[in-house]
Each structure stands twice: as C-alpha cells, then as structure tokens.
C-alpha cells in the first residue's frame, strides 16, 4: 500500500509552469531520493506534499487523505509529515529544547514534561543532548540541522521530507547530518530527500528520481540509476555532478 500517491500534479508561478504533471507512488518505509538541476521543480514538488505550496491541478493523497483546501485535511497531513529545510529555519528566539517541544505542546497538546522527555530522547538520537539549553545562534550549521531533524521528529511523523538538507552546510558538517538521516532511514521511516549527495543516494535510497524542467525524466533503483541510466538527460546530469 503506497503512503503517498501523486497523480498528474501541475503547478504554475504566474507565467512559469513549475510542475508539468508529476505522477508517482511511494510505499511505506521507502526512501526516495530526488535529484535534478536547480529550477527543475523538485523542491516545489515536495513542498506541495506538505501544502507549503498549493498544486493547481492533479491530486496528491497522503496516507489516505487527499490534499484539498479542506482545513481538516491540511491539519491532518501536516501532523503526519515532517519537514527539514535547506536553511534549517529554527526559531532563533527559542532554545533548542523549546524549538523541539513547541509543536508537541501547542499542536498535539501534550504535557510539557512528556514533551521534554521525548525531546531529550530525540536529541540523544541525533547526538547533541548537551546543547538543549542553547539558542540556535550558538550552534554550528550541522548541529542546527540536526536540531531541525529532531524538531520534525518530535511530532511523530509517518513521513519525513528533506529539502536539500546539506546544501547550506560546510563540507565538514555534512557528514554528521547525513549520519543522522541514515540512522533514520534504517529505523524504517518513509523519507523523500531532495539532495545532491550521491553517496547518500547510493547507500540508503530505495529509488532515485531525476527531475528536469518540471517533469520526472527518470525513475530507477540506485544501482541502475548511477551505473546504467536510461535517459540521456540523466547521463548529462551525472557527468556534470560527479
């Protein structure tokens, strides 16, 4: 049973068509890596899954709930889908602990003590329990991104979306974030990752997709994708990036 179904999703920004009919299905527990040149619509697509952008045509069904203008559906889906951004987007006026417990307390209406317990557990999982009382501004980029992952996990999501989680990081910090993501993938989380980290794709992904000009040009297993691509566009892309 697929947890995300997208059928012919289209999206325009004014005159510019960002998505030109994307269809795909993702099974529960699957790790999907999407790559592609900038402006290819890959970020737009995963933002549509979370309703940060509104698709204008086609349909997206997440865990049996269709994404429409219905308030209840949007709330349901957002509670089930966690998201990690390229620029972390931590709340600078709150401590790490407050960042993580904010949503459980205010959205899930959980008790503060339970949420804090859970948050410590998550911080342990991403490997920075000692930073709980610091402000985001006092952390390094890699640490911030790991806090962002913990923040998304605090809502107990079924699906995690990663929007280029490592592109804003210095090279030496990329590894610590990728490690946290690998650990997450192994635990059986459904993940959609937009990234240029091909090593990560090879090692963890169940499937790899290439987006170009708002269309999905190739969908393949990682081994096939890297060693034996079907499409010329993929070959060109791989030659540029590797």
């Amino acid at each position: 049973m697929s947890i995300i179904q997208a059928k012919d999703v289209k999206k325009w920004f004014g005159d510019f068509q960002a998505l030109k009919g994307i269809s795909m299905e993702i099974a529960e527990g699957e790790v999907l890596v999407i790559c592609g040149p900038s402006g290819s619509g890959k970020s737009t697509f995963i933002r549509c899954i979370n309703r940060l952008e509104q698709h204008q045509d086609g349909e997206i069904i997440v865990d049996g709930t269709e994404l429409t203008n219905d308030l209840k559906n949007i709330e349901t889906i957002r509670a089930e889908v966690g998201m990690v951004f390229q620029s972390f987007n931590l709340f600078p006026h709150l401590t790490v602990m407050q960042n993580i417990t904010l949503a459980p307390i205010w959205v899930r209406k959980k008790s503060r003590s339970d949420s804090e317990e859970k948050a410590m557990e998550l911080l342990n999982r991403v490997g920075i329990p000692e930073q709980a009382d610091k402000y985001p501004g006092q952390l390094s980029g890699g640490q911030q991104q790991r806090v962002a992952i913990a923040r998304a996990l605090a809502m107990d999501p079924k699906i995690m979306l990663f929007d280029e989680p490592t592109s804003a990081l210095d090279p030496e910090m990329i590894k610590e974030v990728l490690d946290a993501m690998k650990e997450l993938a192994k635990s059986g989380m459904t993940m959609i990752v937009v990234t240029h980290e091909m090593g990560f794709a090879k090692e963890v992904a169940d499937r790899v997709m290439l987006f170009d000009e708002g269309m999905m040009v190739e969908e393949n297993t990682p081994d096939e994708f890297f060693d034996n691509p079907k499409n010329d566009r993929t070959k060109l892309f791989l030659s540029q990036i590797l």
Binding site: W12, G14, F16, N69, D70, L71, K72
Partner: protein
C-alpha cells in the same frame, strides 16, 4: 459523490474561510463607521448646526493676522490664506533645514574634536526637548525684547522688538510675476540651447562650447528682461485669458462625465492588461484568489468613482471646478483661476486697488466725486477721488484718495456714490504700466495714526511676526537636527572601500566627498529625508500655539465662528493628506530616478 461531500464541507474549506473572514471583517468595519455616522446625524440634528459647506462662501466676521488676505471675503479665501501661510514656512523651512542639517551632519563626522562634540551637544539638546517647548521659548525670547513703542519712528537697517524682527528686503511690485515667469522661460530656453549645442557636439565632434552658449543666452535675455523685456512673459497671461473664456462655457456636468470617463478608461485598461498577462500560453488563464480580488477591486473602485461623481458629492466637486457661488468669490473655480493668471501676467498686469486709510482712524470711505474715468492715465500721487471718511473723530471729514501705482484706469468698481466702502475693499481696477518688479527697501517704523501705538510699515523691508519667527526657527532647528542624523547615517553607509578607492585615484578630501561619497550617500538618505520633510510640514501646525495663522489656526478660528467643526476637520484631513502625498511622490520619483541611474 465525492464532489458533493467536498461542497457540503465548504465551511472547512480554507479558501471559503479566508474570504468569509474578510467579508465579515469588511462588514464589521463598515457597520462601525455607519454607526458613528448615524450618531453624528442624530447629534447634529439635536444641536441645530446642520453639516454644511455654505459657510465657505460667506464672508467670515474675523480677520487674519498676516498673509495673503488679511480681510478675506469668504471662508474659502480665509482657508487659502492659512494654506499659503503654511507653505511659506514649509518651503523655506525645508530649504533651510536641509542646508543646516547637512552641515551639522558633516560636522558630526568631523575628525576635529571640538567641532564634533559641539554639534553632538546641539543635537542632544534639541532632540530631547519637545518642539512645542522650544517654540514657546523662541516666542518668549522675542516677546522679552522692548516694545516697539520705545523706539523712534523712521527707517532702520535691522530692527528687533517685541513685535517681531525686521530687515531689508526686495518687495514685490505688481510686475514681479511677469519677471518671475520670464526668468523661468529664459532658464528653459538656456537649457534647450545647451542640449542643442551638445547634440551638435556629439554629431559633428567639434567643440561647440555649449556651456558658454547657454550662459551667454541666459545673461543676454535676463538683461533684456530687466530693462522691460520681461513683458514678453505676458503671452502667458494672454493665453490664460482665452483658456479662461473657454472654460467659462463648460457646464458642471461635463466635468462629472469627464472624470467618470477617465476612471472607466483607466480601470478598463488596467484590468485588460492584467487579464492579458494571465492569458499567456504557459499561465493558461489560471488565477489565484489575489488575482480575482484585484479584478473585482478594480471594478468596484471604478463603479465607486462613477457613483460618487454623479451623486451630490460629485456635483459639488464639479461646481467647485466650474466656480459656483462658493468658489467664485474666492477665485477658486477653474475659469476664475485662469482669469487671475491673466490679470497677473498680462502685458500690463491689472490689479484691484483697495481703499487705504488716508487719515488716522478712518474706517470707511464714502465717495463724493470721482476724479478719474476708465481709460485715464494716472501716475503715482494723483487724486483718484474725493470722499468722506467715516469713523474719524470729526464725522464725515473730507479726504482725497491718492493713487499708489502708475497706470491706466480700467474700470471703477463702485459706480454709485454715497455708499460707504470699507478699508481693504477694491474700488477701481488699474492696469499697471510702470514700476519696478522688485523694490529694495529698508524696514520702517510708523505710528498707527495718531494713537500711541506703532508698527512696521507695510511694503518697507520685511518684518517677521513673533509667531512666524518662533515657528520657523523651531521647525527648522528641530528638523535640521534629525536631518543631520540622516546625513550622518547616509555618509557612514558608504563603505570605507569607496573612500579608499577615491583616495587611491588622488582625489582630495573635498572632491572625494563631492564626487564619490555624497552621490552614493544621497541614495541611502532620500527616503528618510522625505520622512523628515513630511514631519516638518506636519509640525508647522504648531503655529497655532504661537498665534501664527496657518491652516490649523485659521480653521480653528473659523469653526469657533461658524460652529462647523466637522467640515473644518475634513478640510484639514484633505489638505494634509494631499501635502503628504505630494511630498512622498516627489521623493519616490527621485528615488526611482536615482535607482535607474545606478544600473
């Protein structure tokens, strides 16, 4: 089925909720406003002071202390006096505050310890004391001077007393408008010549000396102008006369239709352009909520304009332009406006000569015999008429009314004899043929008739009243301090690398500031500078505290007289809103221009 559920659940639909909230919000606001208007209608009915604009056309029973019309013939003219008084301060104030503020701003960046500290000290003092306190202090300062009566009458070069401050000045004569328009025309021509010569230079590649040419033309034409050539500007008045005649034939309904038509045209154009932009192949005519809203808003605004133009408000506005009984009296209708320009800028400008006091205590003049008739040429000092002066100690004392300007009599405004004419009322029309455009004179103290009071004589030098001095100095100093902060921040915003680059090219400090730093700093400074100009314009309203008759003070006098507080408040609002809009659009214009130059 699925769709049916979708529609049934409309109350959970985000788009529906969004618009429902907005509509409720709009109706909430409208109902609050409606509620207050209802209250106002009920309350006004109770107090027997119905809301009306009629008082604008009636002669107010009060005078204005200084300005264009000290004895206004209508409420509108009185308000005009207030507006002009406000602009007198705003325009000169903006100029002075900018100059002073720039100096202070540069001084605050000076490496000289004493210069830097003393300008900072001035800043801290002026910035941290309320403007009103400062204005009161300046007023009290001038009021503490000796009374004018302790000085001898006669001419002075510079004079200060509790009545104000006086200094020598070039006073305008009736011909001055001609000369000013002539100067503007000459500047325009010189500019055109400069461009023409530059064009030849660029085309043919030889030195055409554009600067020399334009300055030469400028000086030649100005010299010709000064010795009488300025009358050439009369062509403007000549044209204005025809425009005035043409406009007189236009009925009010034409204006109503014209404005509605323009609104429909602009609205239609804008909407069409917007829809076209969405129709492109890729956009496929897909609209967001905002797009629909924009289209609906366009339609609503156009409909509103048309509706208003054909309601009583629109009719009133059109009447205003045509020159109905209210605006006619104050020369505010379009035809009268152009007629006024014709009078001021004709080959020989025409003026309405007012009755002035020939002897002390004279209040009115009752003409016995006219010594002139239309078409007569008179020179300064001629006798215009003999009249009985009323209001003096001896009843009906016989006096001679004397001509103050040289020219040709156009018409007599008081044909019947035996009618008492108040001082300040025009009684004949004169075409001025002679006299300098500007007359240099020194201040003079004169006695007010035979009383023990004295005053600065009108038309001799320039005297600033206490109120004018206090409010002017107050707003200029206060604004200059804030402008100095803007200038300082602007200069500091230019990176140090720019100065270093300039210095490495061998520029000196002055040239560096003028050529490299200031042009860049001005771009940063413009928007906050515009804010300061706006503040200055608004702060002139404190003139009311020192009895300077600007628009707020004049408005207050008027509503104390007529009881019409609401219309006066609306006038204030319209006036200040349009001043704010004007200043901010000028600043925006330059801002945009600067930005284009940059790229």
């Amino acid at each position: 089925m699925k769709n049916a559920i979708k529609y049934f659940l409309f109350f959970r639909n985000v788009v529906f909720l969004k618009w429902a909230f907005q509509v409720i919000f709009l109706f909430g606001i409208l109902s609050i406003i409606w509620n207050y208007i209802q209250n106002a209608i009920v309350n006004l009915a109770d107090t027997n002071i119905a809301f009306s604009w009629g008082w604008l056309g009636e002669t107010p029973g009060v005078s204005v202390a200084e300005g264009m019309y000290t004895l206004p013939n209508s409420g509108l003219q009185m308000i005009q006096t207030g507006m002009v008084n406000m602009f007198r301060i705003t325009v000169t104030g903006i100029f002075a505050a900018t100059v002073l503020g720039t100096f202070l701003g540069i001084a605050r960046l000076s490496s000289n310890y004493i210069v830097e500290k003393s300008s900072t000290g001035l800043l801290e003092v002026v910035r941290n004391v309320p403007l009103l306190v400062q204005i009161y202090f300046f007023q009290a300062f001038v009021l503490s001077f000796p009374r004018l009566e302790v000085f001898d009458t006669g001419e002075y070069f510079f004079h200060a007393s509790a009545k104000g401050i006086a200094f020598p000045w070039f006073n305008r004569g009736p011909n001055s408008y001609l000369l000013m328009v002539y100067a503007l025309l000459v500047l325009y021509i010189a500019n055109k010549i400069y461009k023409w010569r530059v064009e030849i230079l660029e085309r043919e590649g030889r030195d055409t000396k554009p600067f020399l040419w334009s300055v030469g033309t400028l000086i030649t034409l100005l010299v010709i102008g000064w010795y009488g050539g300025f009358r050439a500007a009369g062509v403007v008045g000549f044209l204005a006369g025809y425009i005035s005649m043409g406009l007189e034939a236009v009925p009010a309904i034409v204006y109503q239709m014209l404005i509605s038509g323009t609104a429909i045209y602009i609205g239609f154009k804008a909407t069409k352009k917007f829809i076209d932009s969405k129709k492109s192949e890729e956009a496929q005519g897909i609209y967001s909520d905002d797009d629909y809203f924009k289209i609906i808003l366009n339609v609503v605004v156009v409909l509103l304009v048309v509706l208003i133009m054909f309601s009583s408000i629109g009719a009133g506005f059109a009447g205003f332009l045509v020159g109905d009984e209210i605006t006619f009296k104050a020369d505010w209708g379009l035809p009268q406006l152009f007629h006024g320009i014709e009078n001021k800028l004709h080959w020989y400008p025409s003026i309405d000569v007012e009755v002035v006091a020939e002897i002390e205590g004279m209040k009115k003049a009752e003409i016995i015999n006219w010594e002139i008739k239309p078409g007569d040429k008179i020179i300064q000092g001629d006798v215009i008429a003999t009249a009985y002066a009323t209001g003096t100690k001896i009843d009906k004392q016989e006096v001679e009314l004397i001509a103050l300007e040289t020219g040709t009599v156009e018409s007599l405004l008081v044909e019947e004899k035996g009618i008492a004419i108040k001082l300040g009322t025009p009684y004949y029309e004169l075409e001025v043929t002679d006299g300098d455009p500007f007359i240099f004179s020194k201040p003079k103290i004169e006695q007010v008739g035979t009383t023990k009071f004295q005053r600065y004589a009108k038309g001799h030098g320039k005297s600033l009243s206490v109120g004018y001095f206090a409010i002017w100095l107050g707003v200029v100093l206060y604004t200059a301090i804030f402008i100095s902060e803007v200038v300082r921040a602007g200069i500091m915003a230019v990176s140090k690398g720019q100065s270093e680059a300039g210095m490495s090219l061998g520029l000196r400090r002055g040239a560096l500031l003028r050529l490299v730093v200031l042009p860049q700093a001005i771009r940063v400074m413009l928007p906050p500078m515009g804010n300061q100009y706006l503040n200055l314009a608004k702060n002139t309203s404190l003139g009311i505290a020192v009895a300077y008759p600007e628009i707020v003070a004049v408005g207050q006098t008027l509503y104390n007289q007529e009881g019409q507080t609401l219309p006066v408040f609306l006038i204030w609002m319209m006036f200040y809103s349009s001043v704010s809009l004007t200043i901010s659009s000028i600043i925006n214009y330059y801002n945009r221009k600067m930005k284009i130059v940059e790229r």
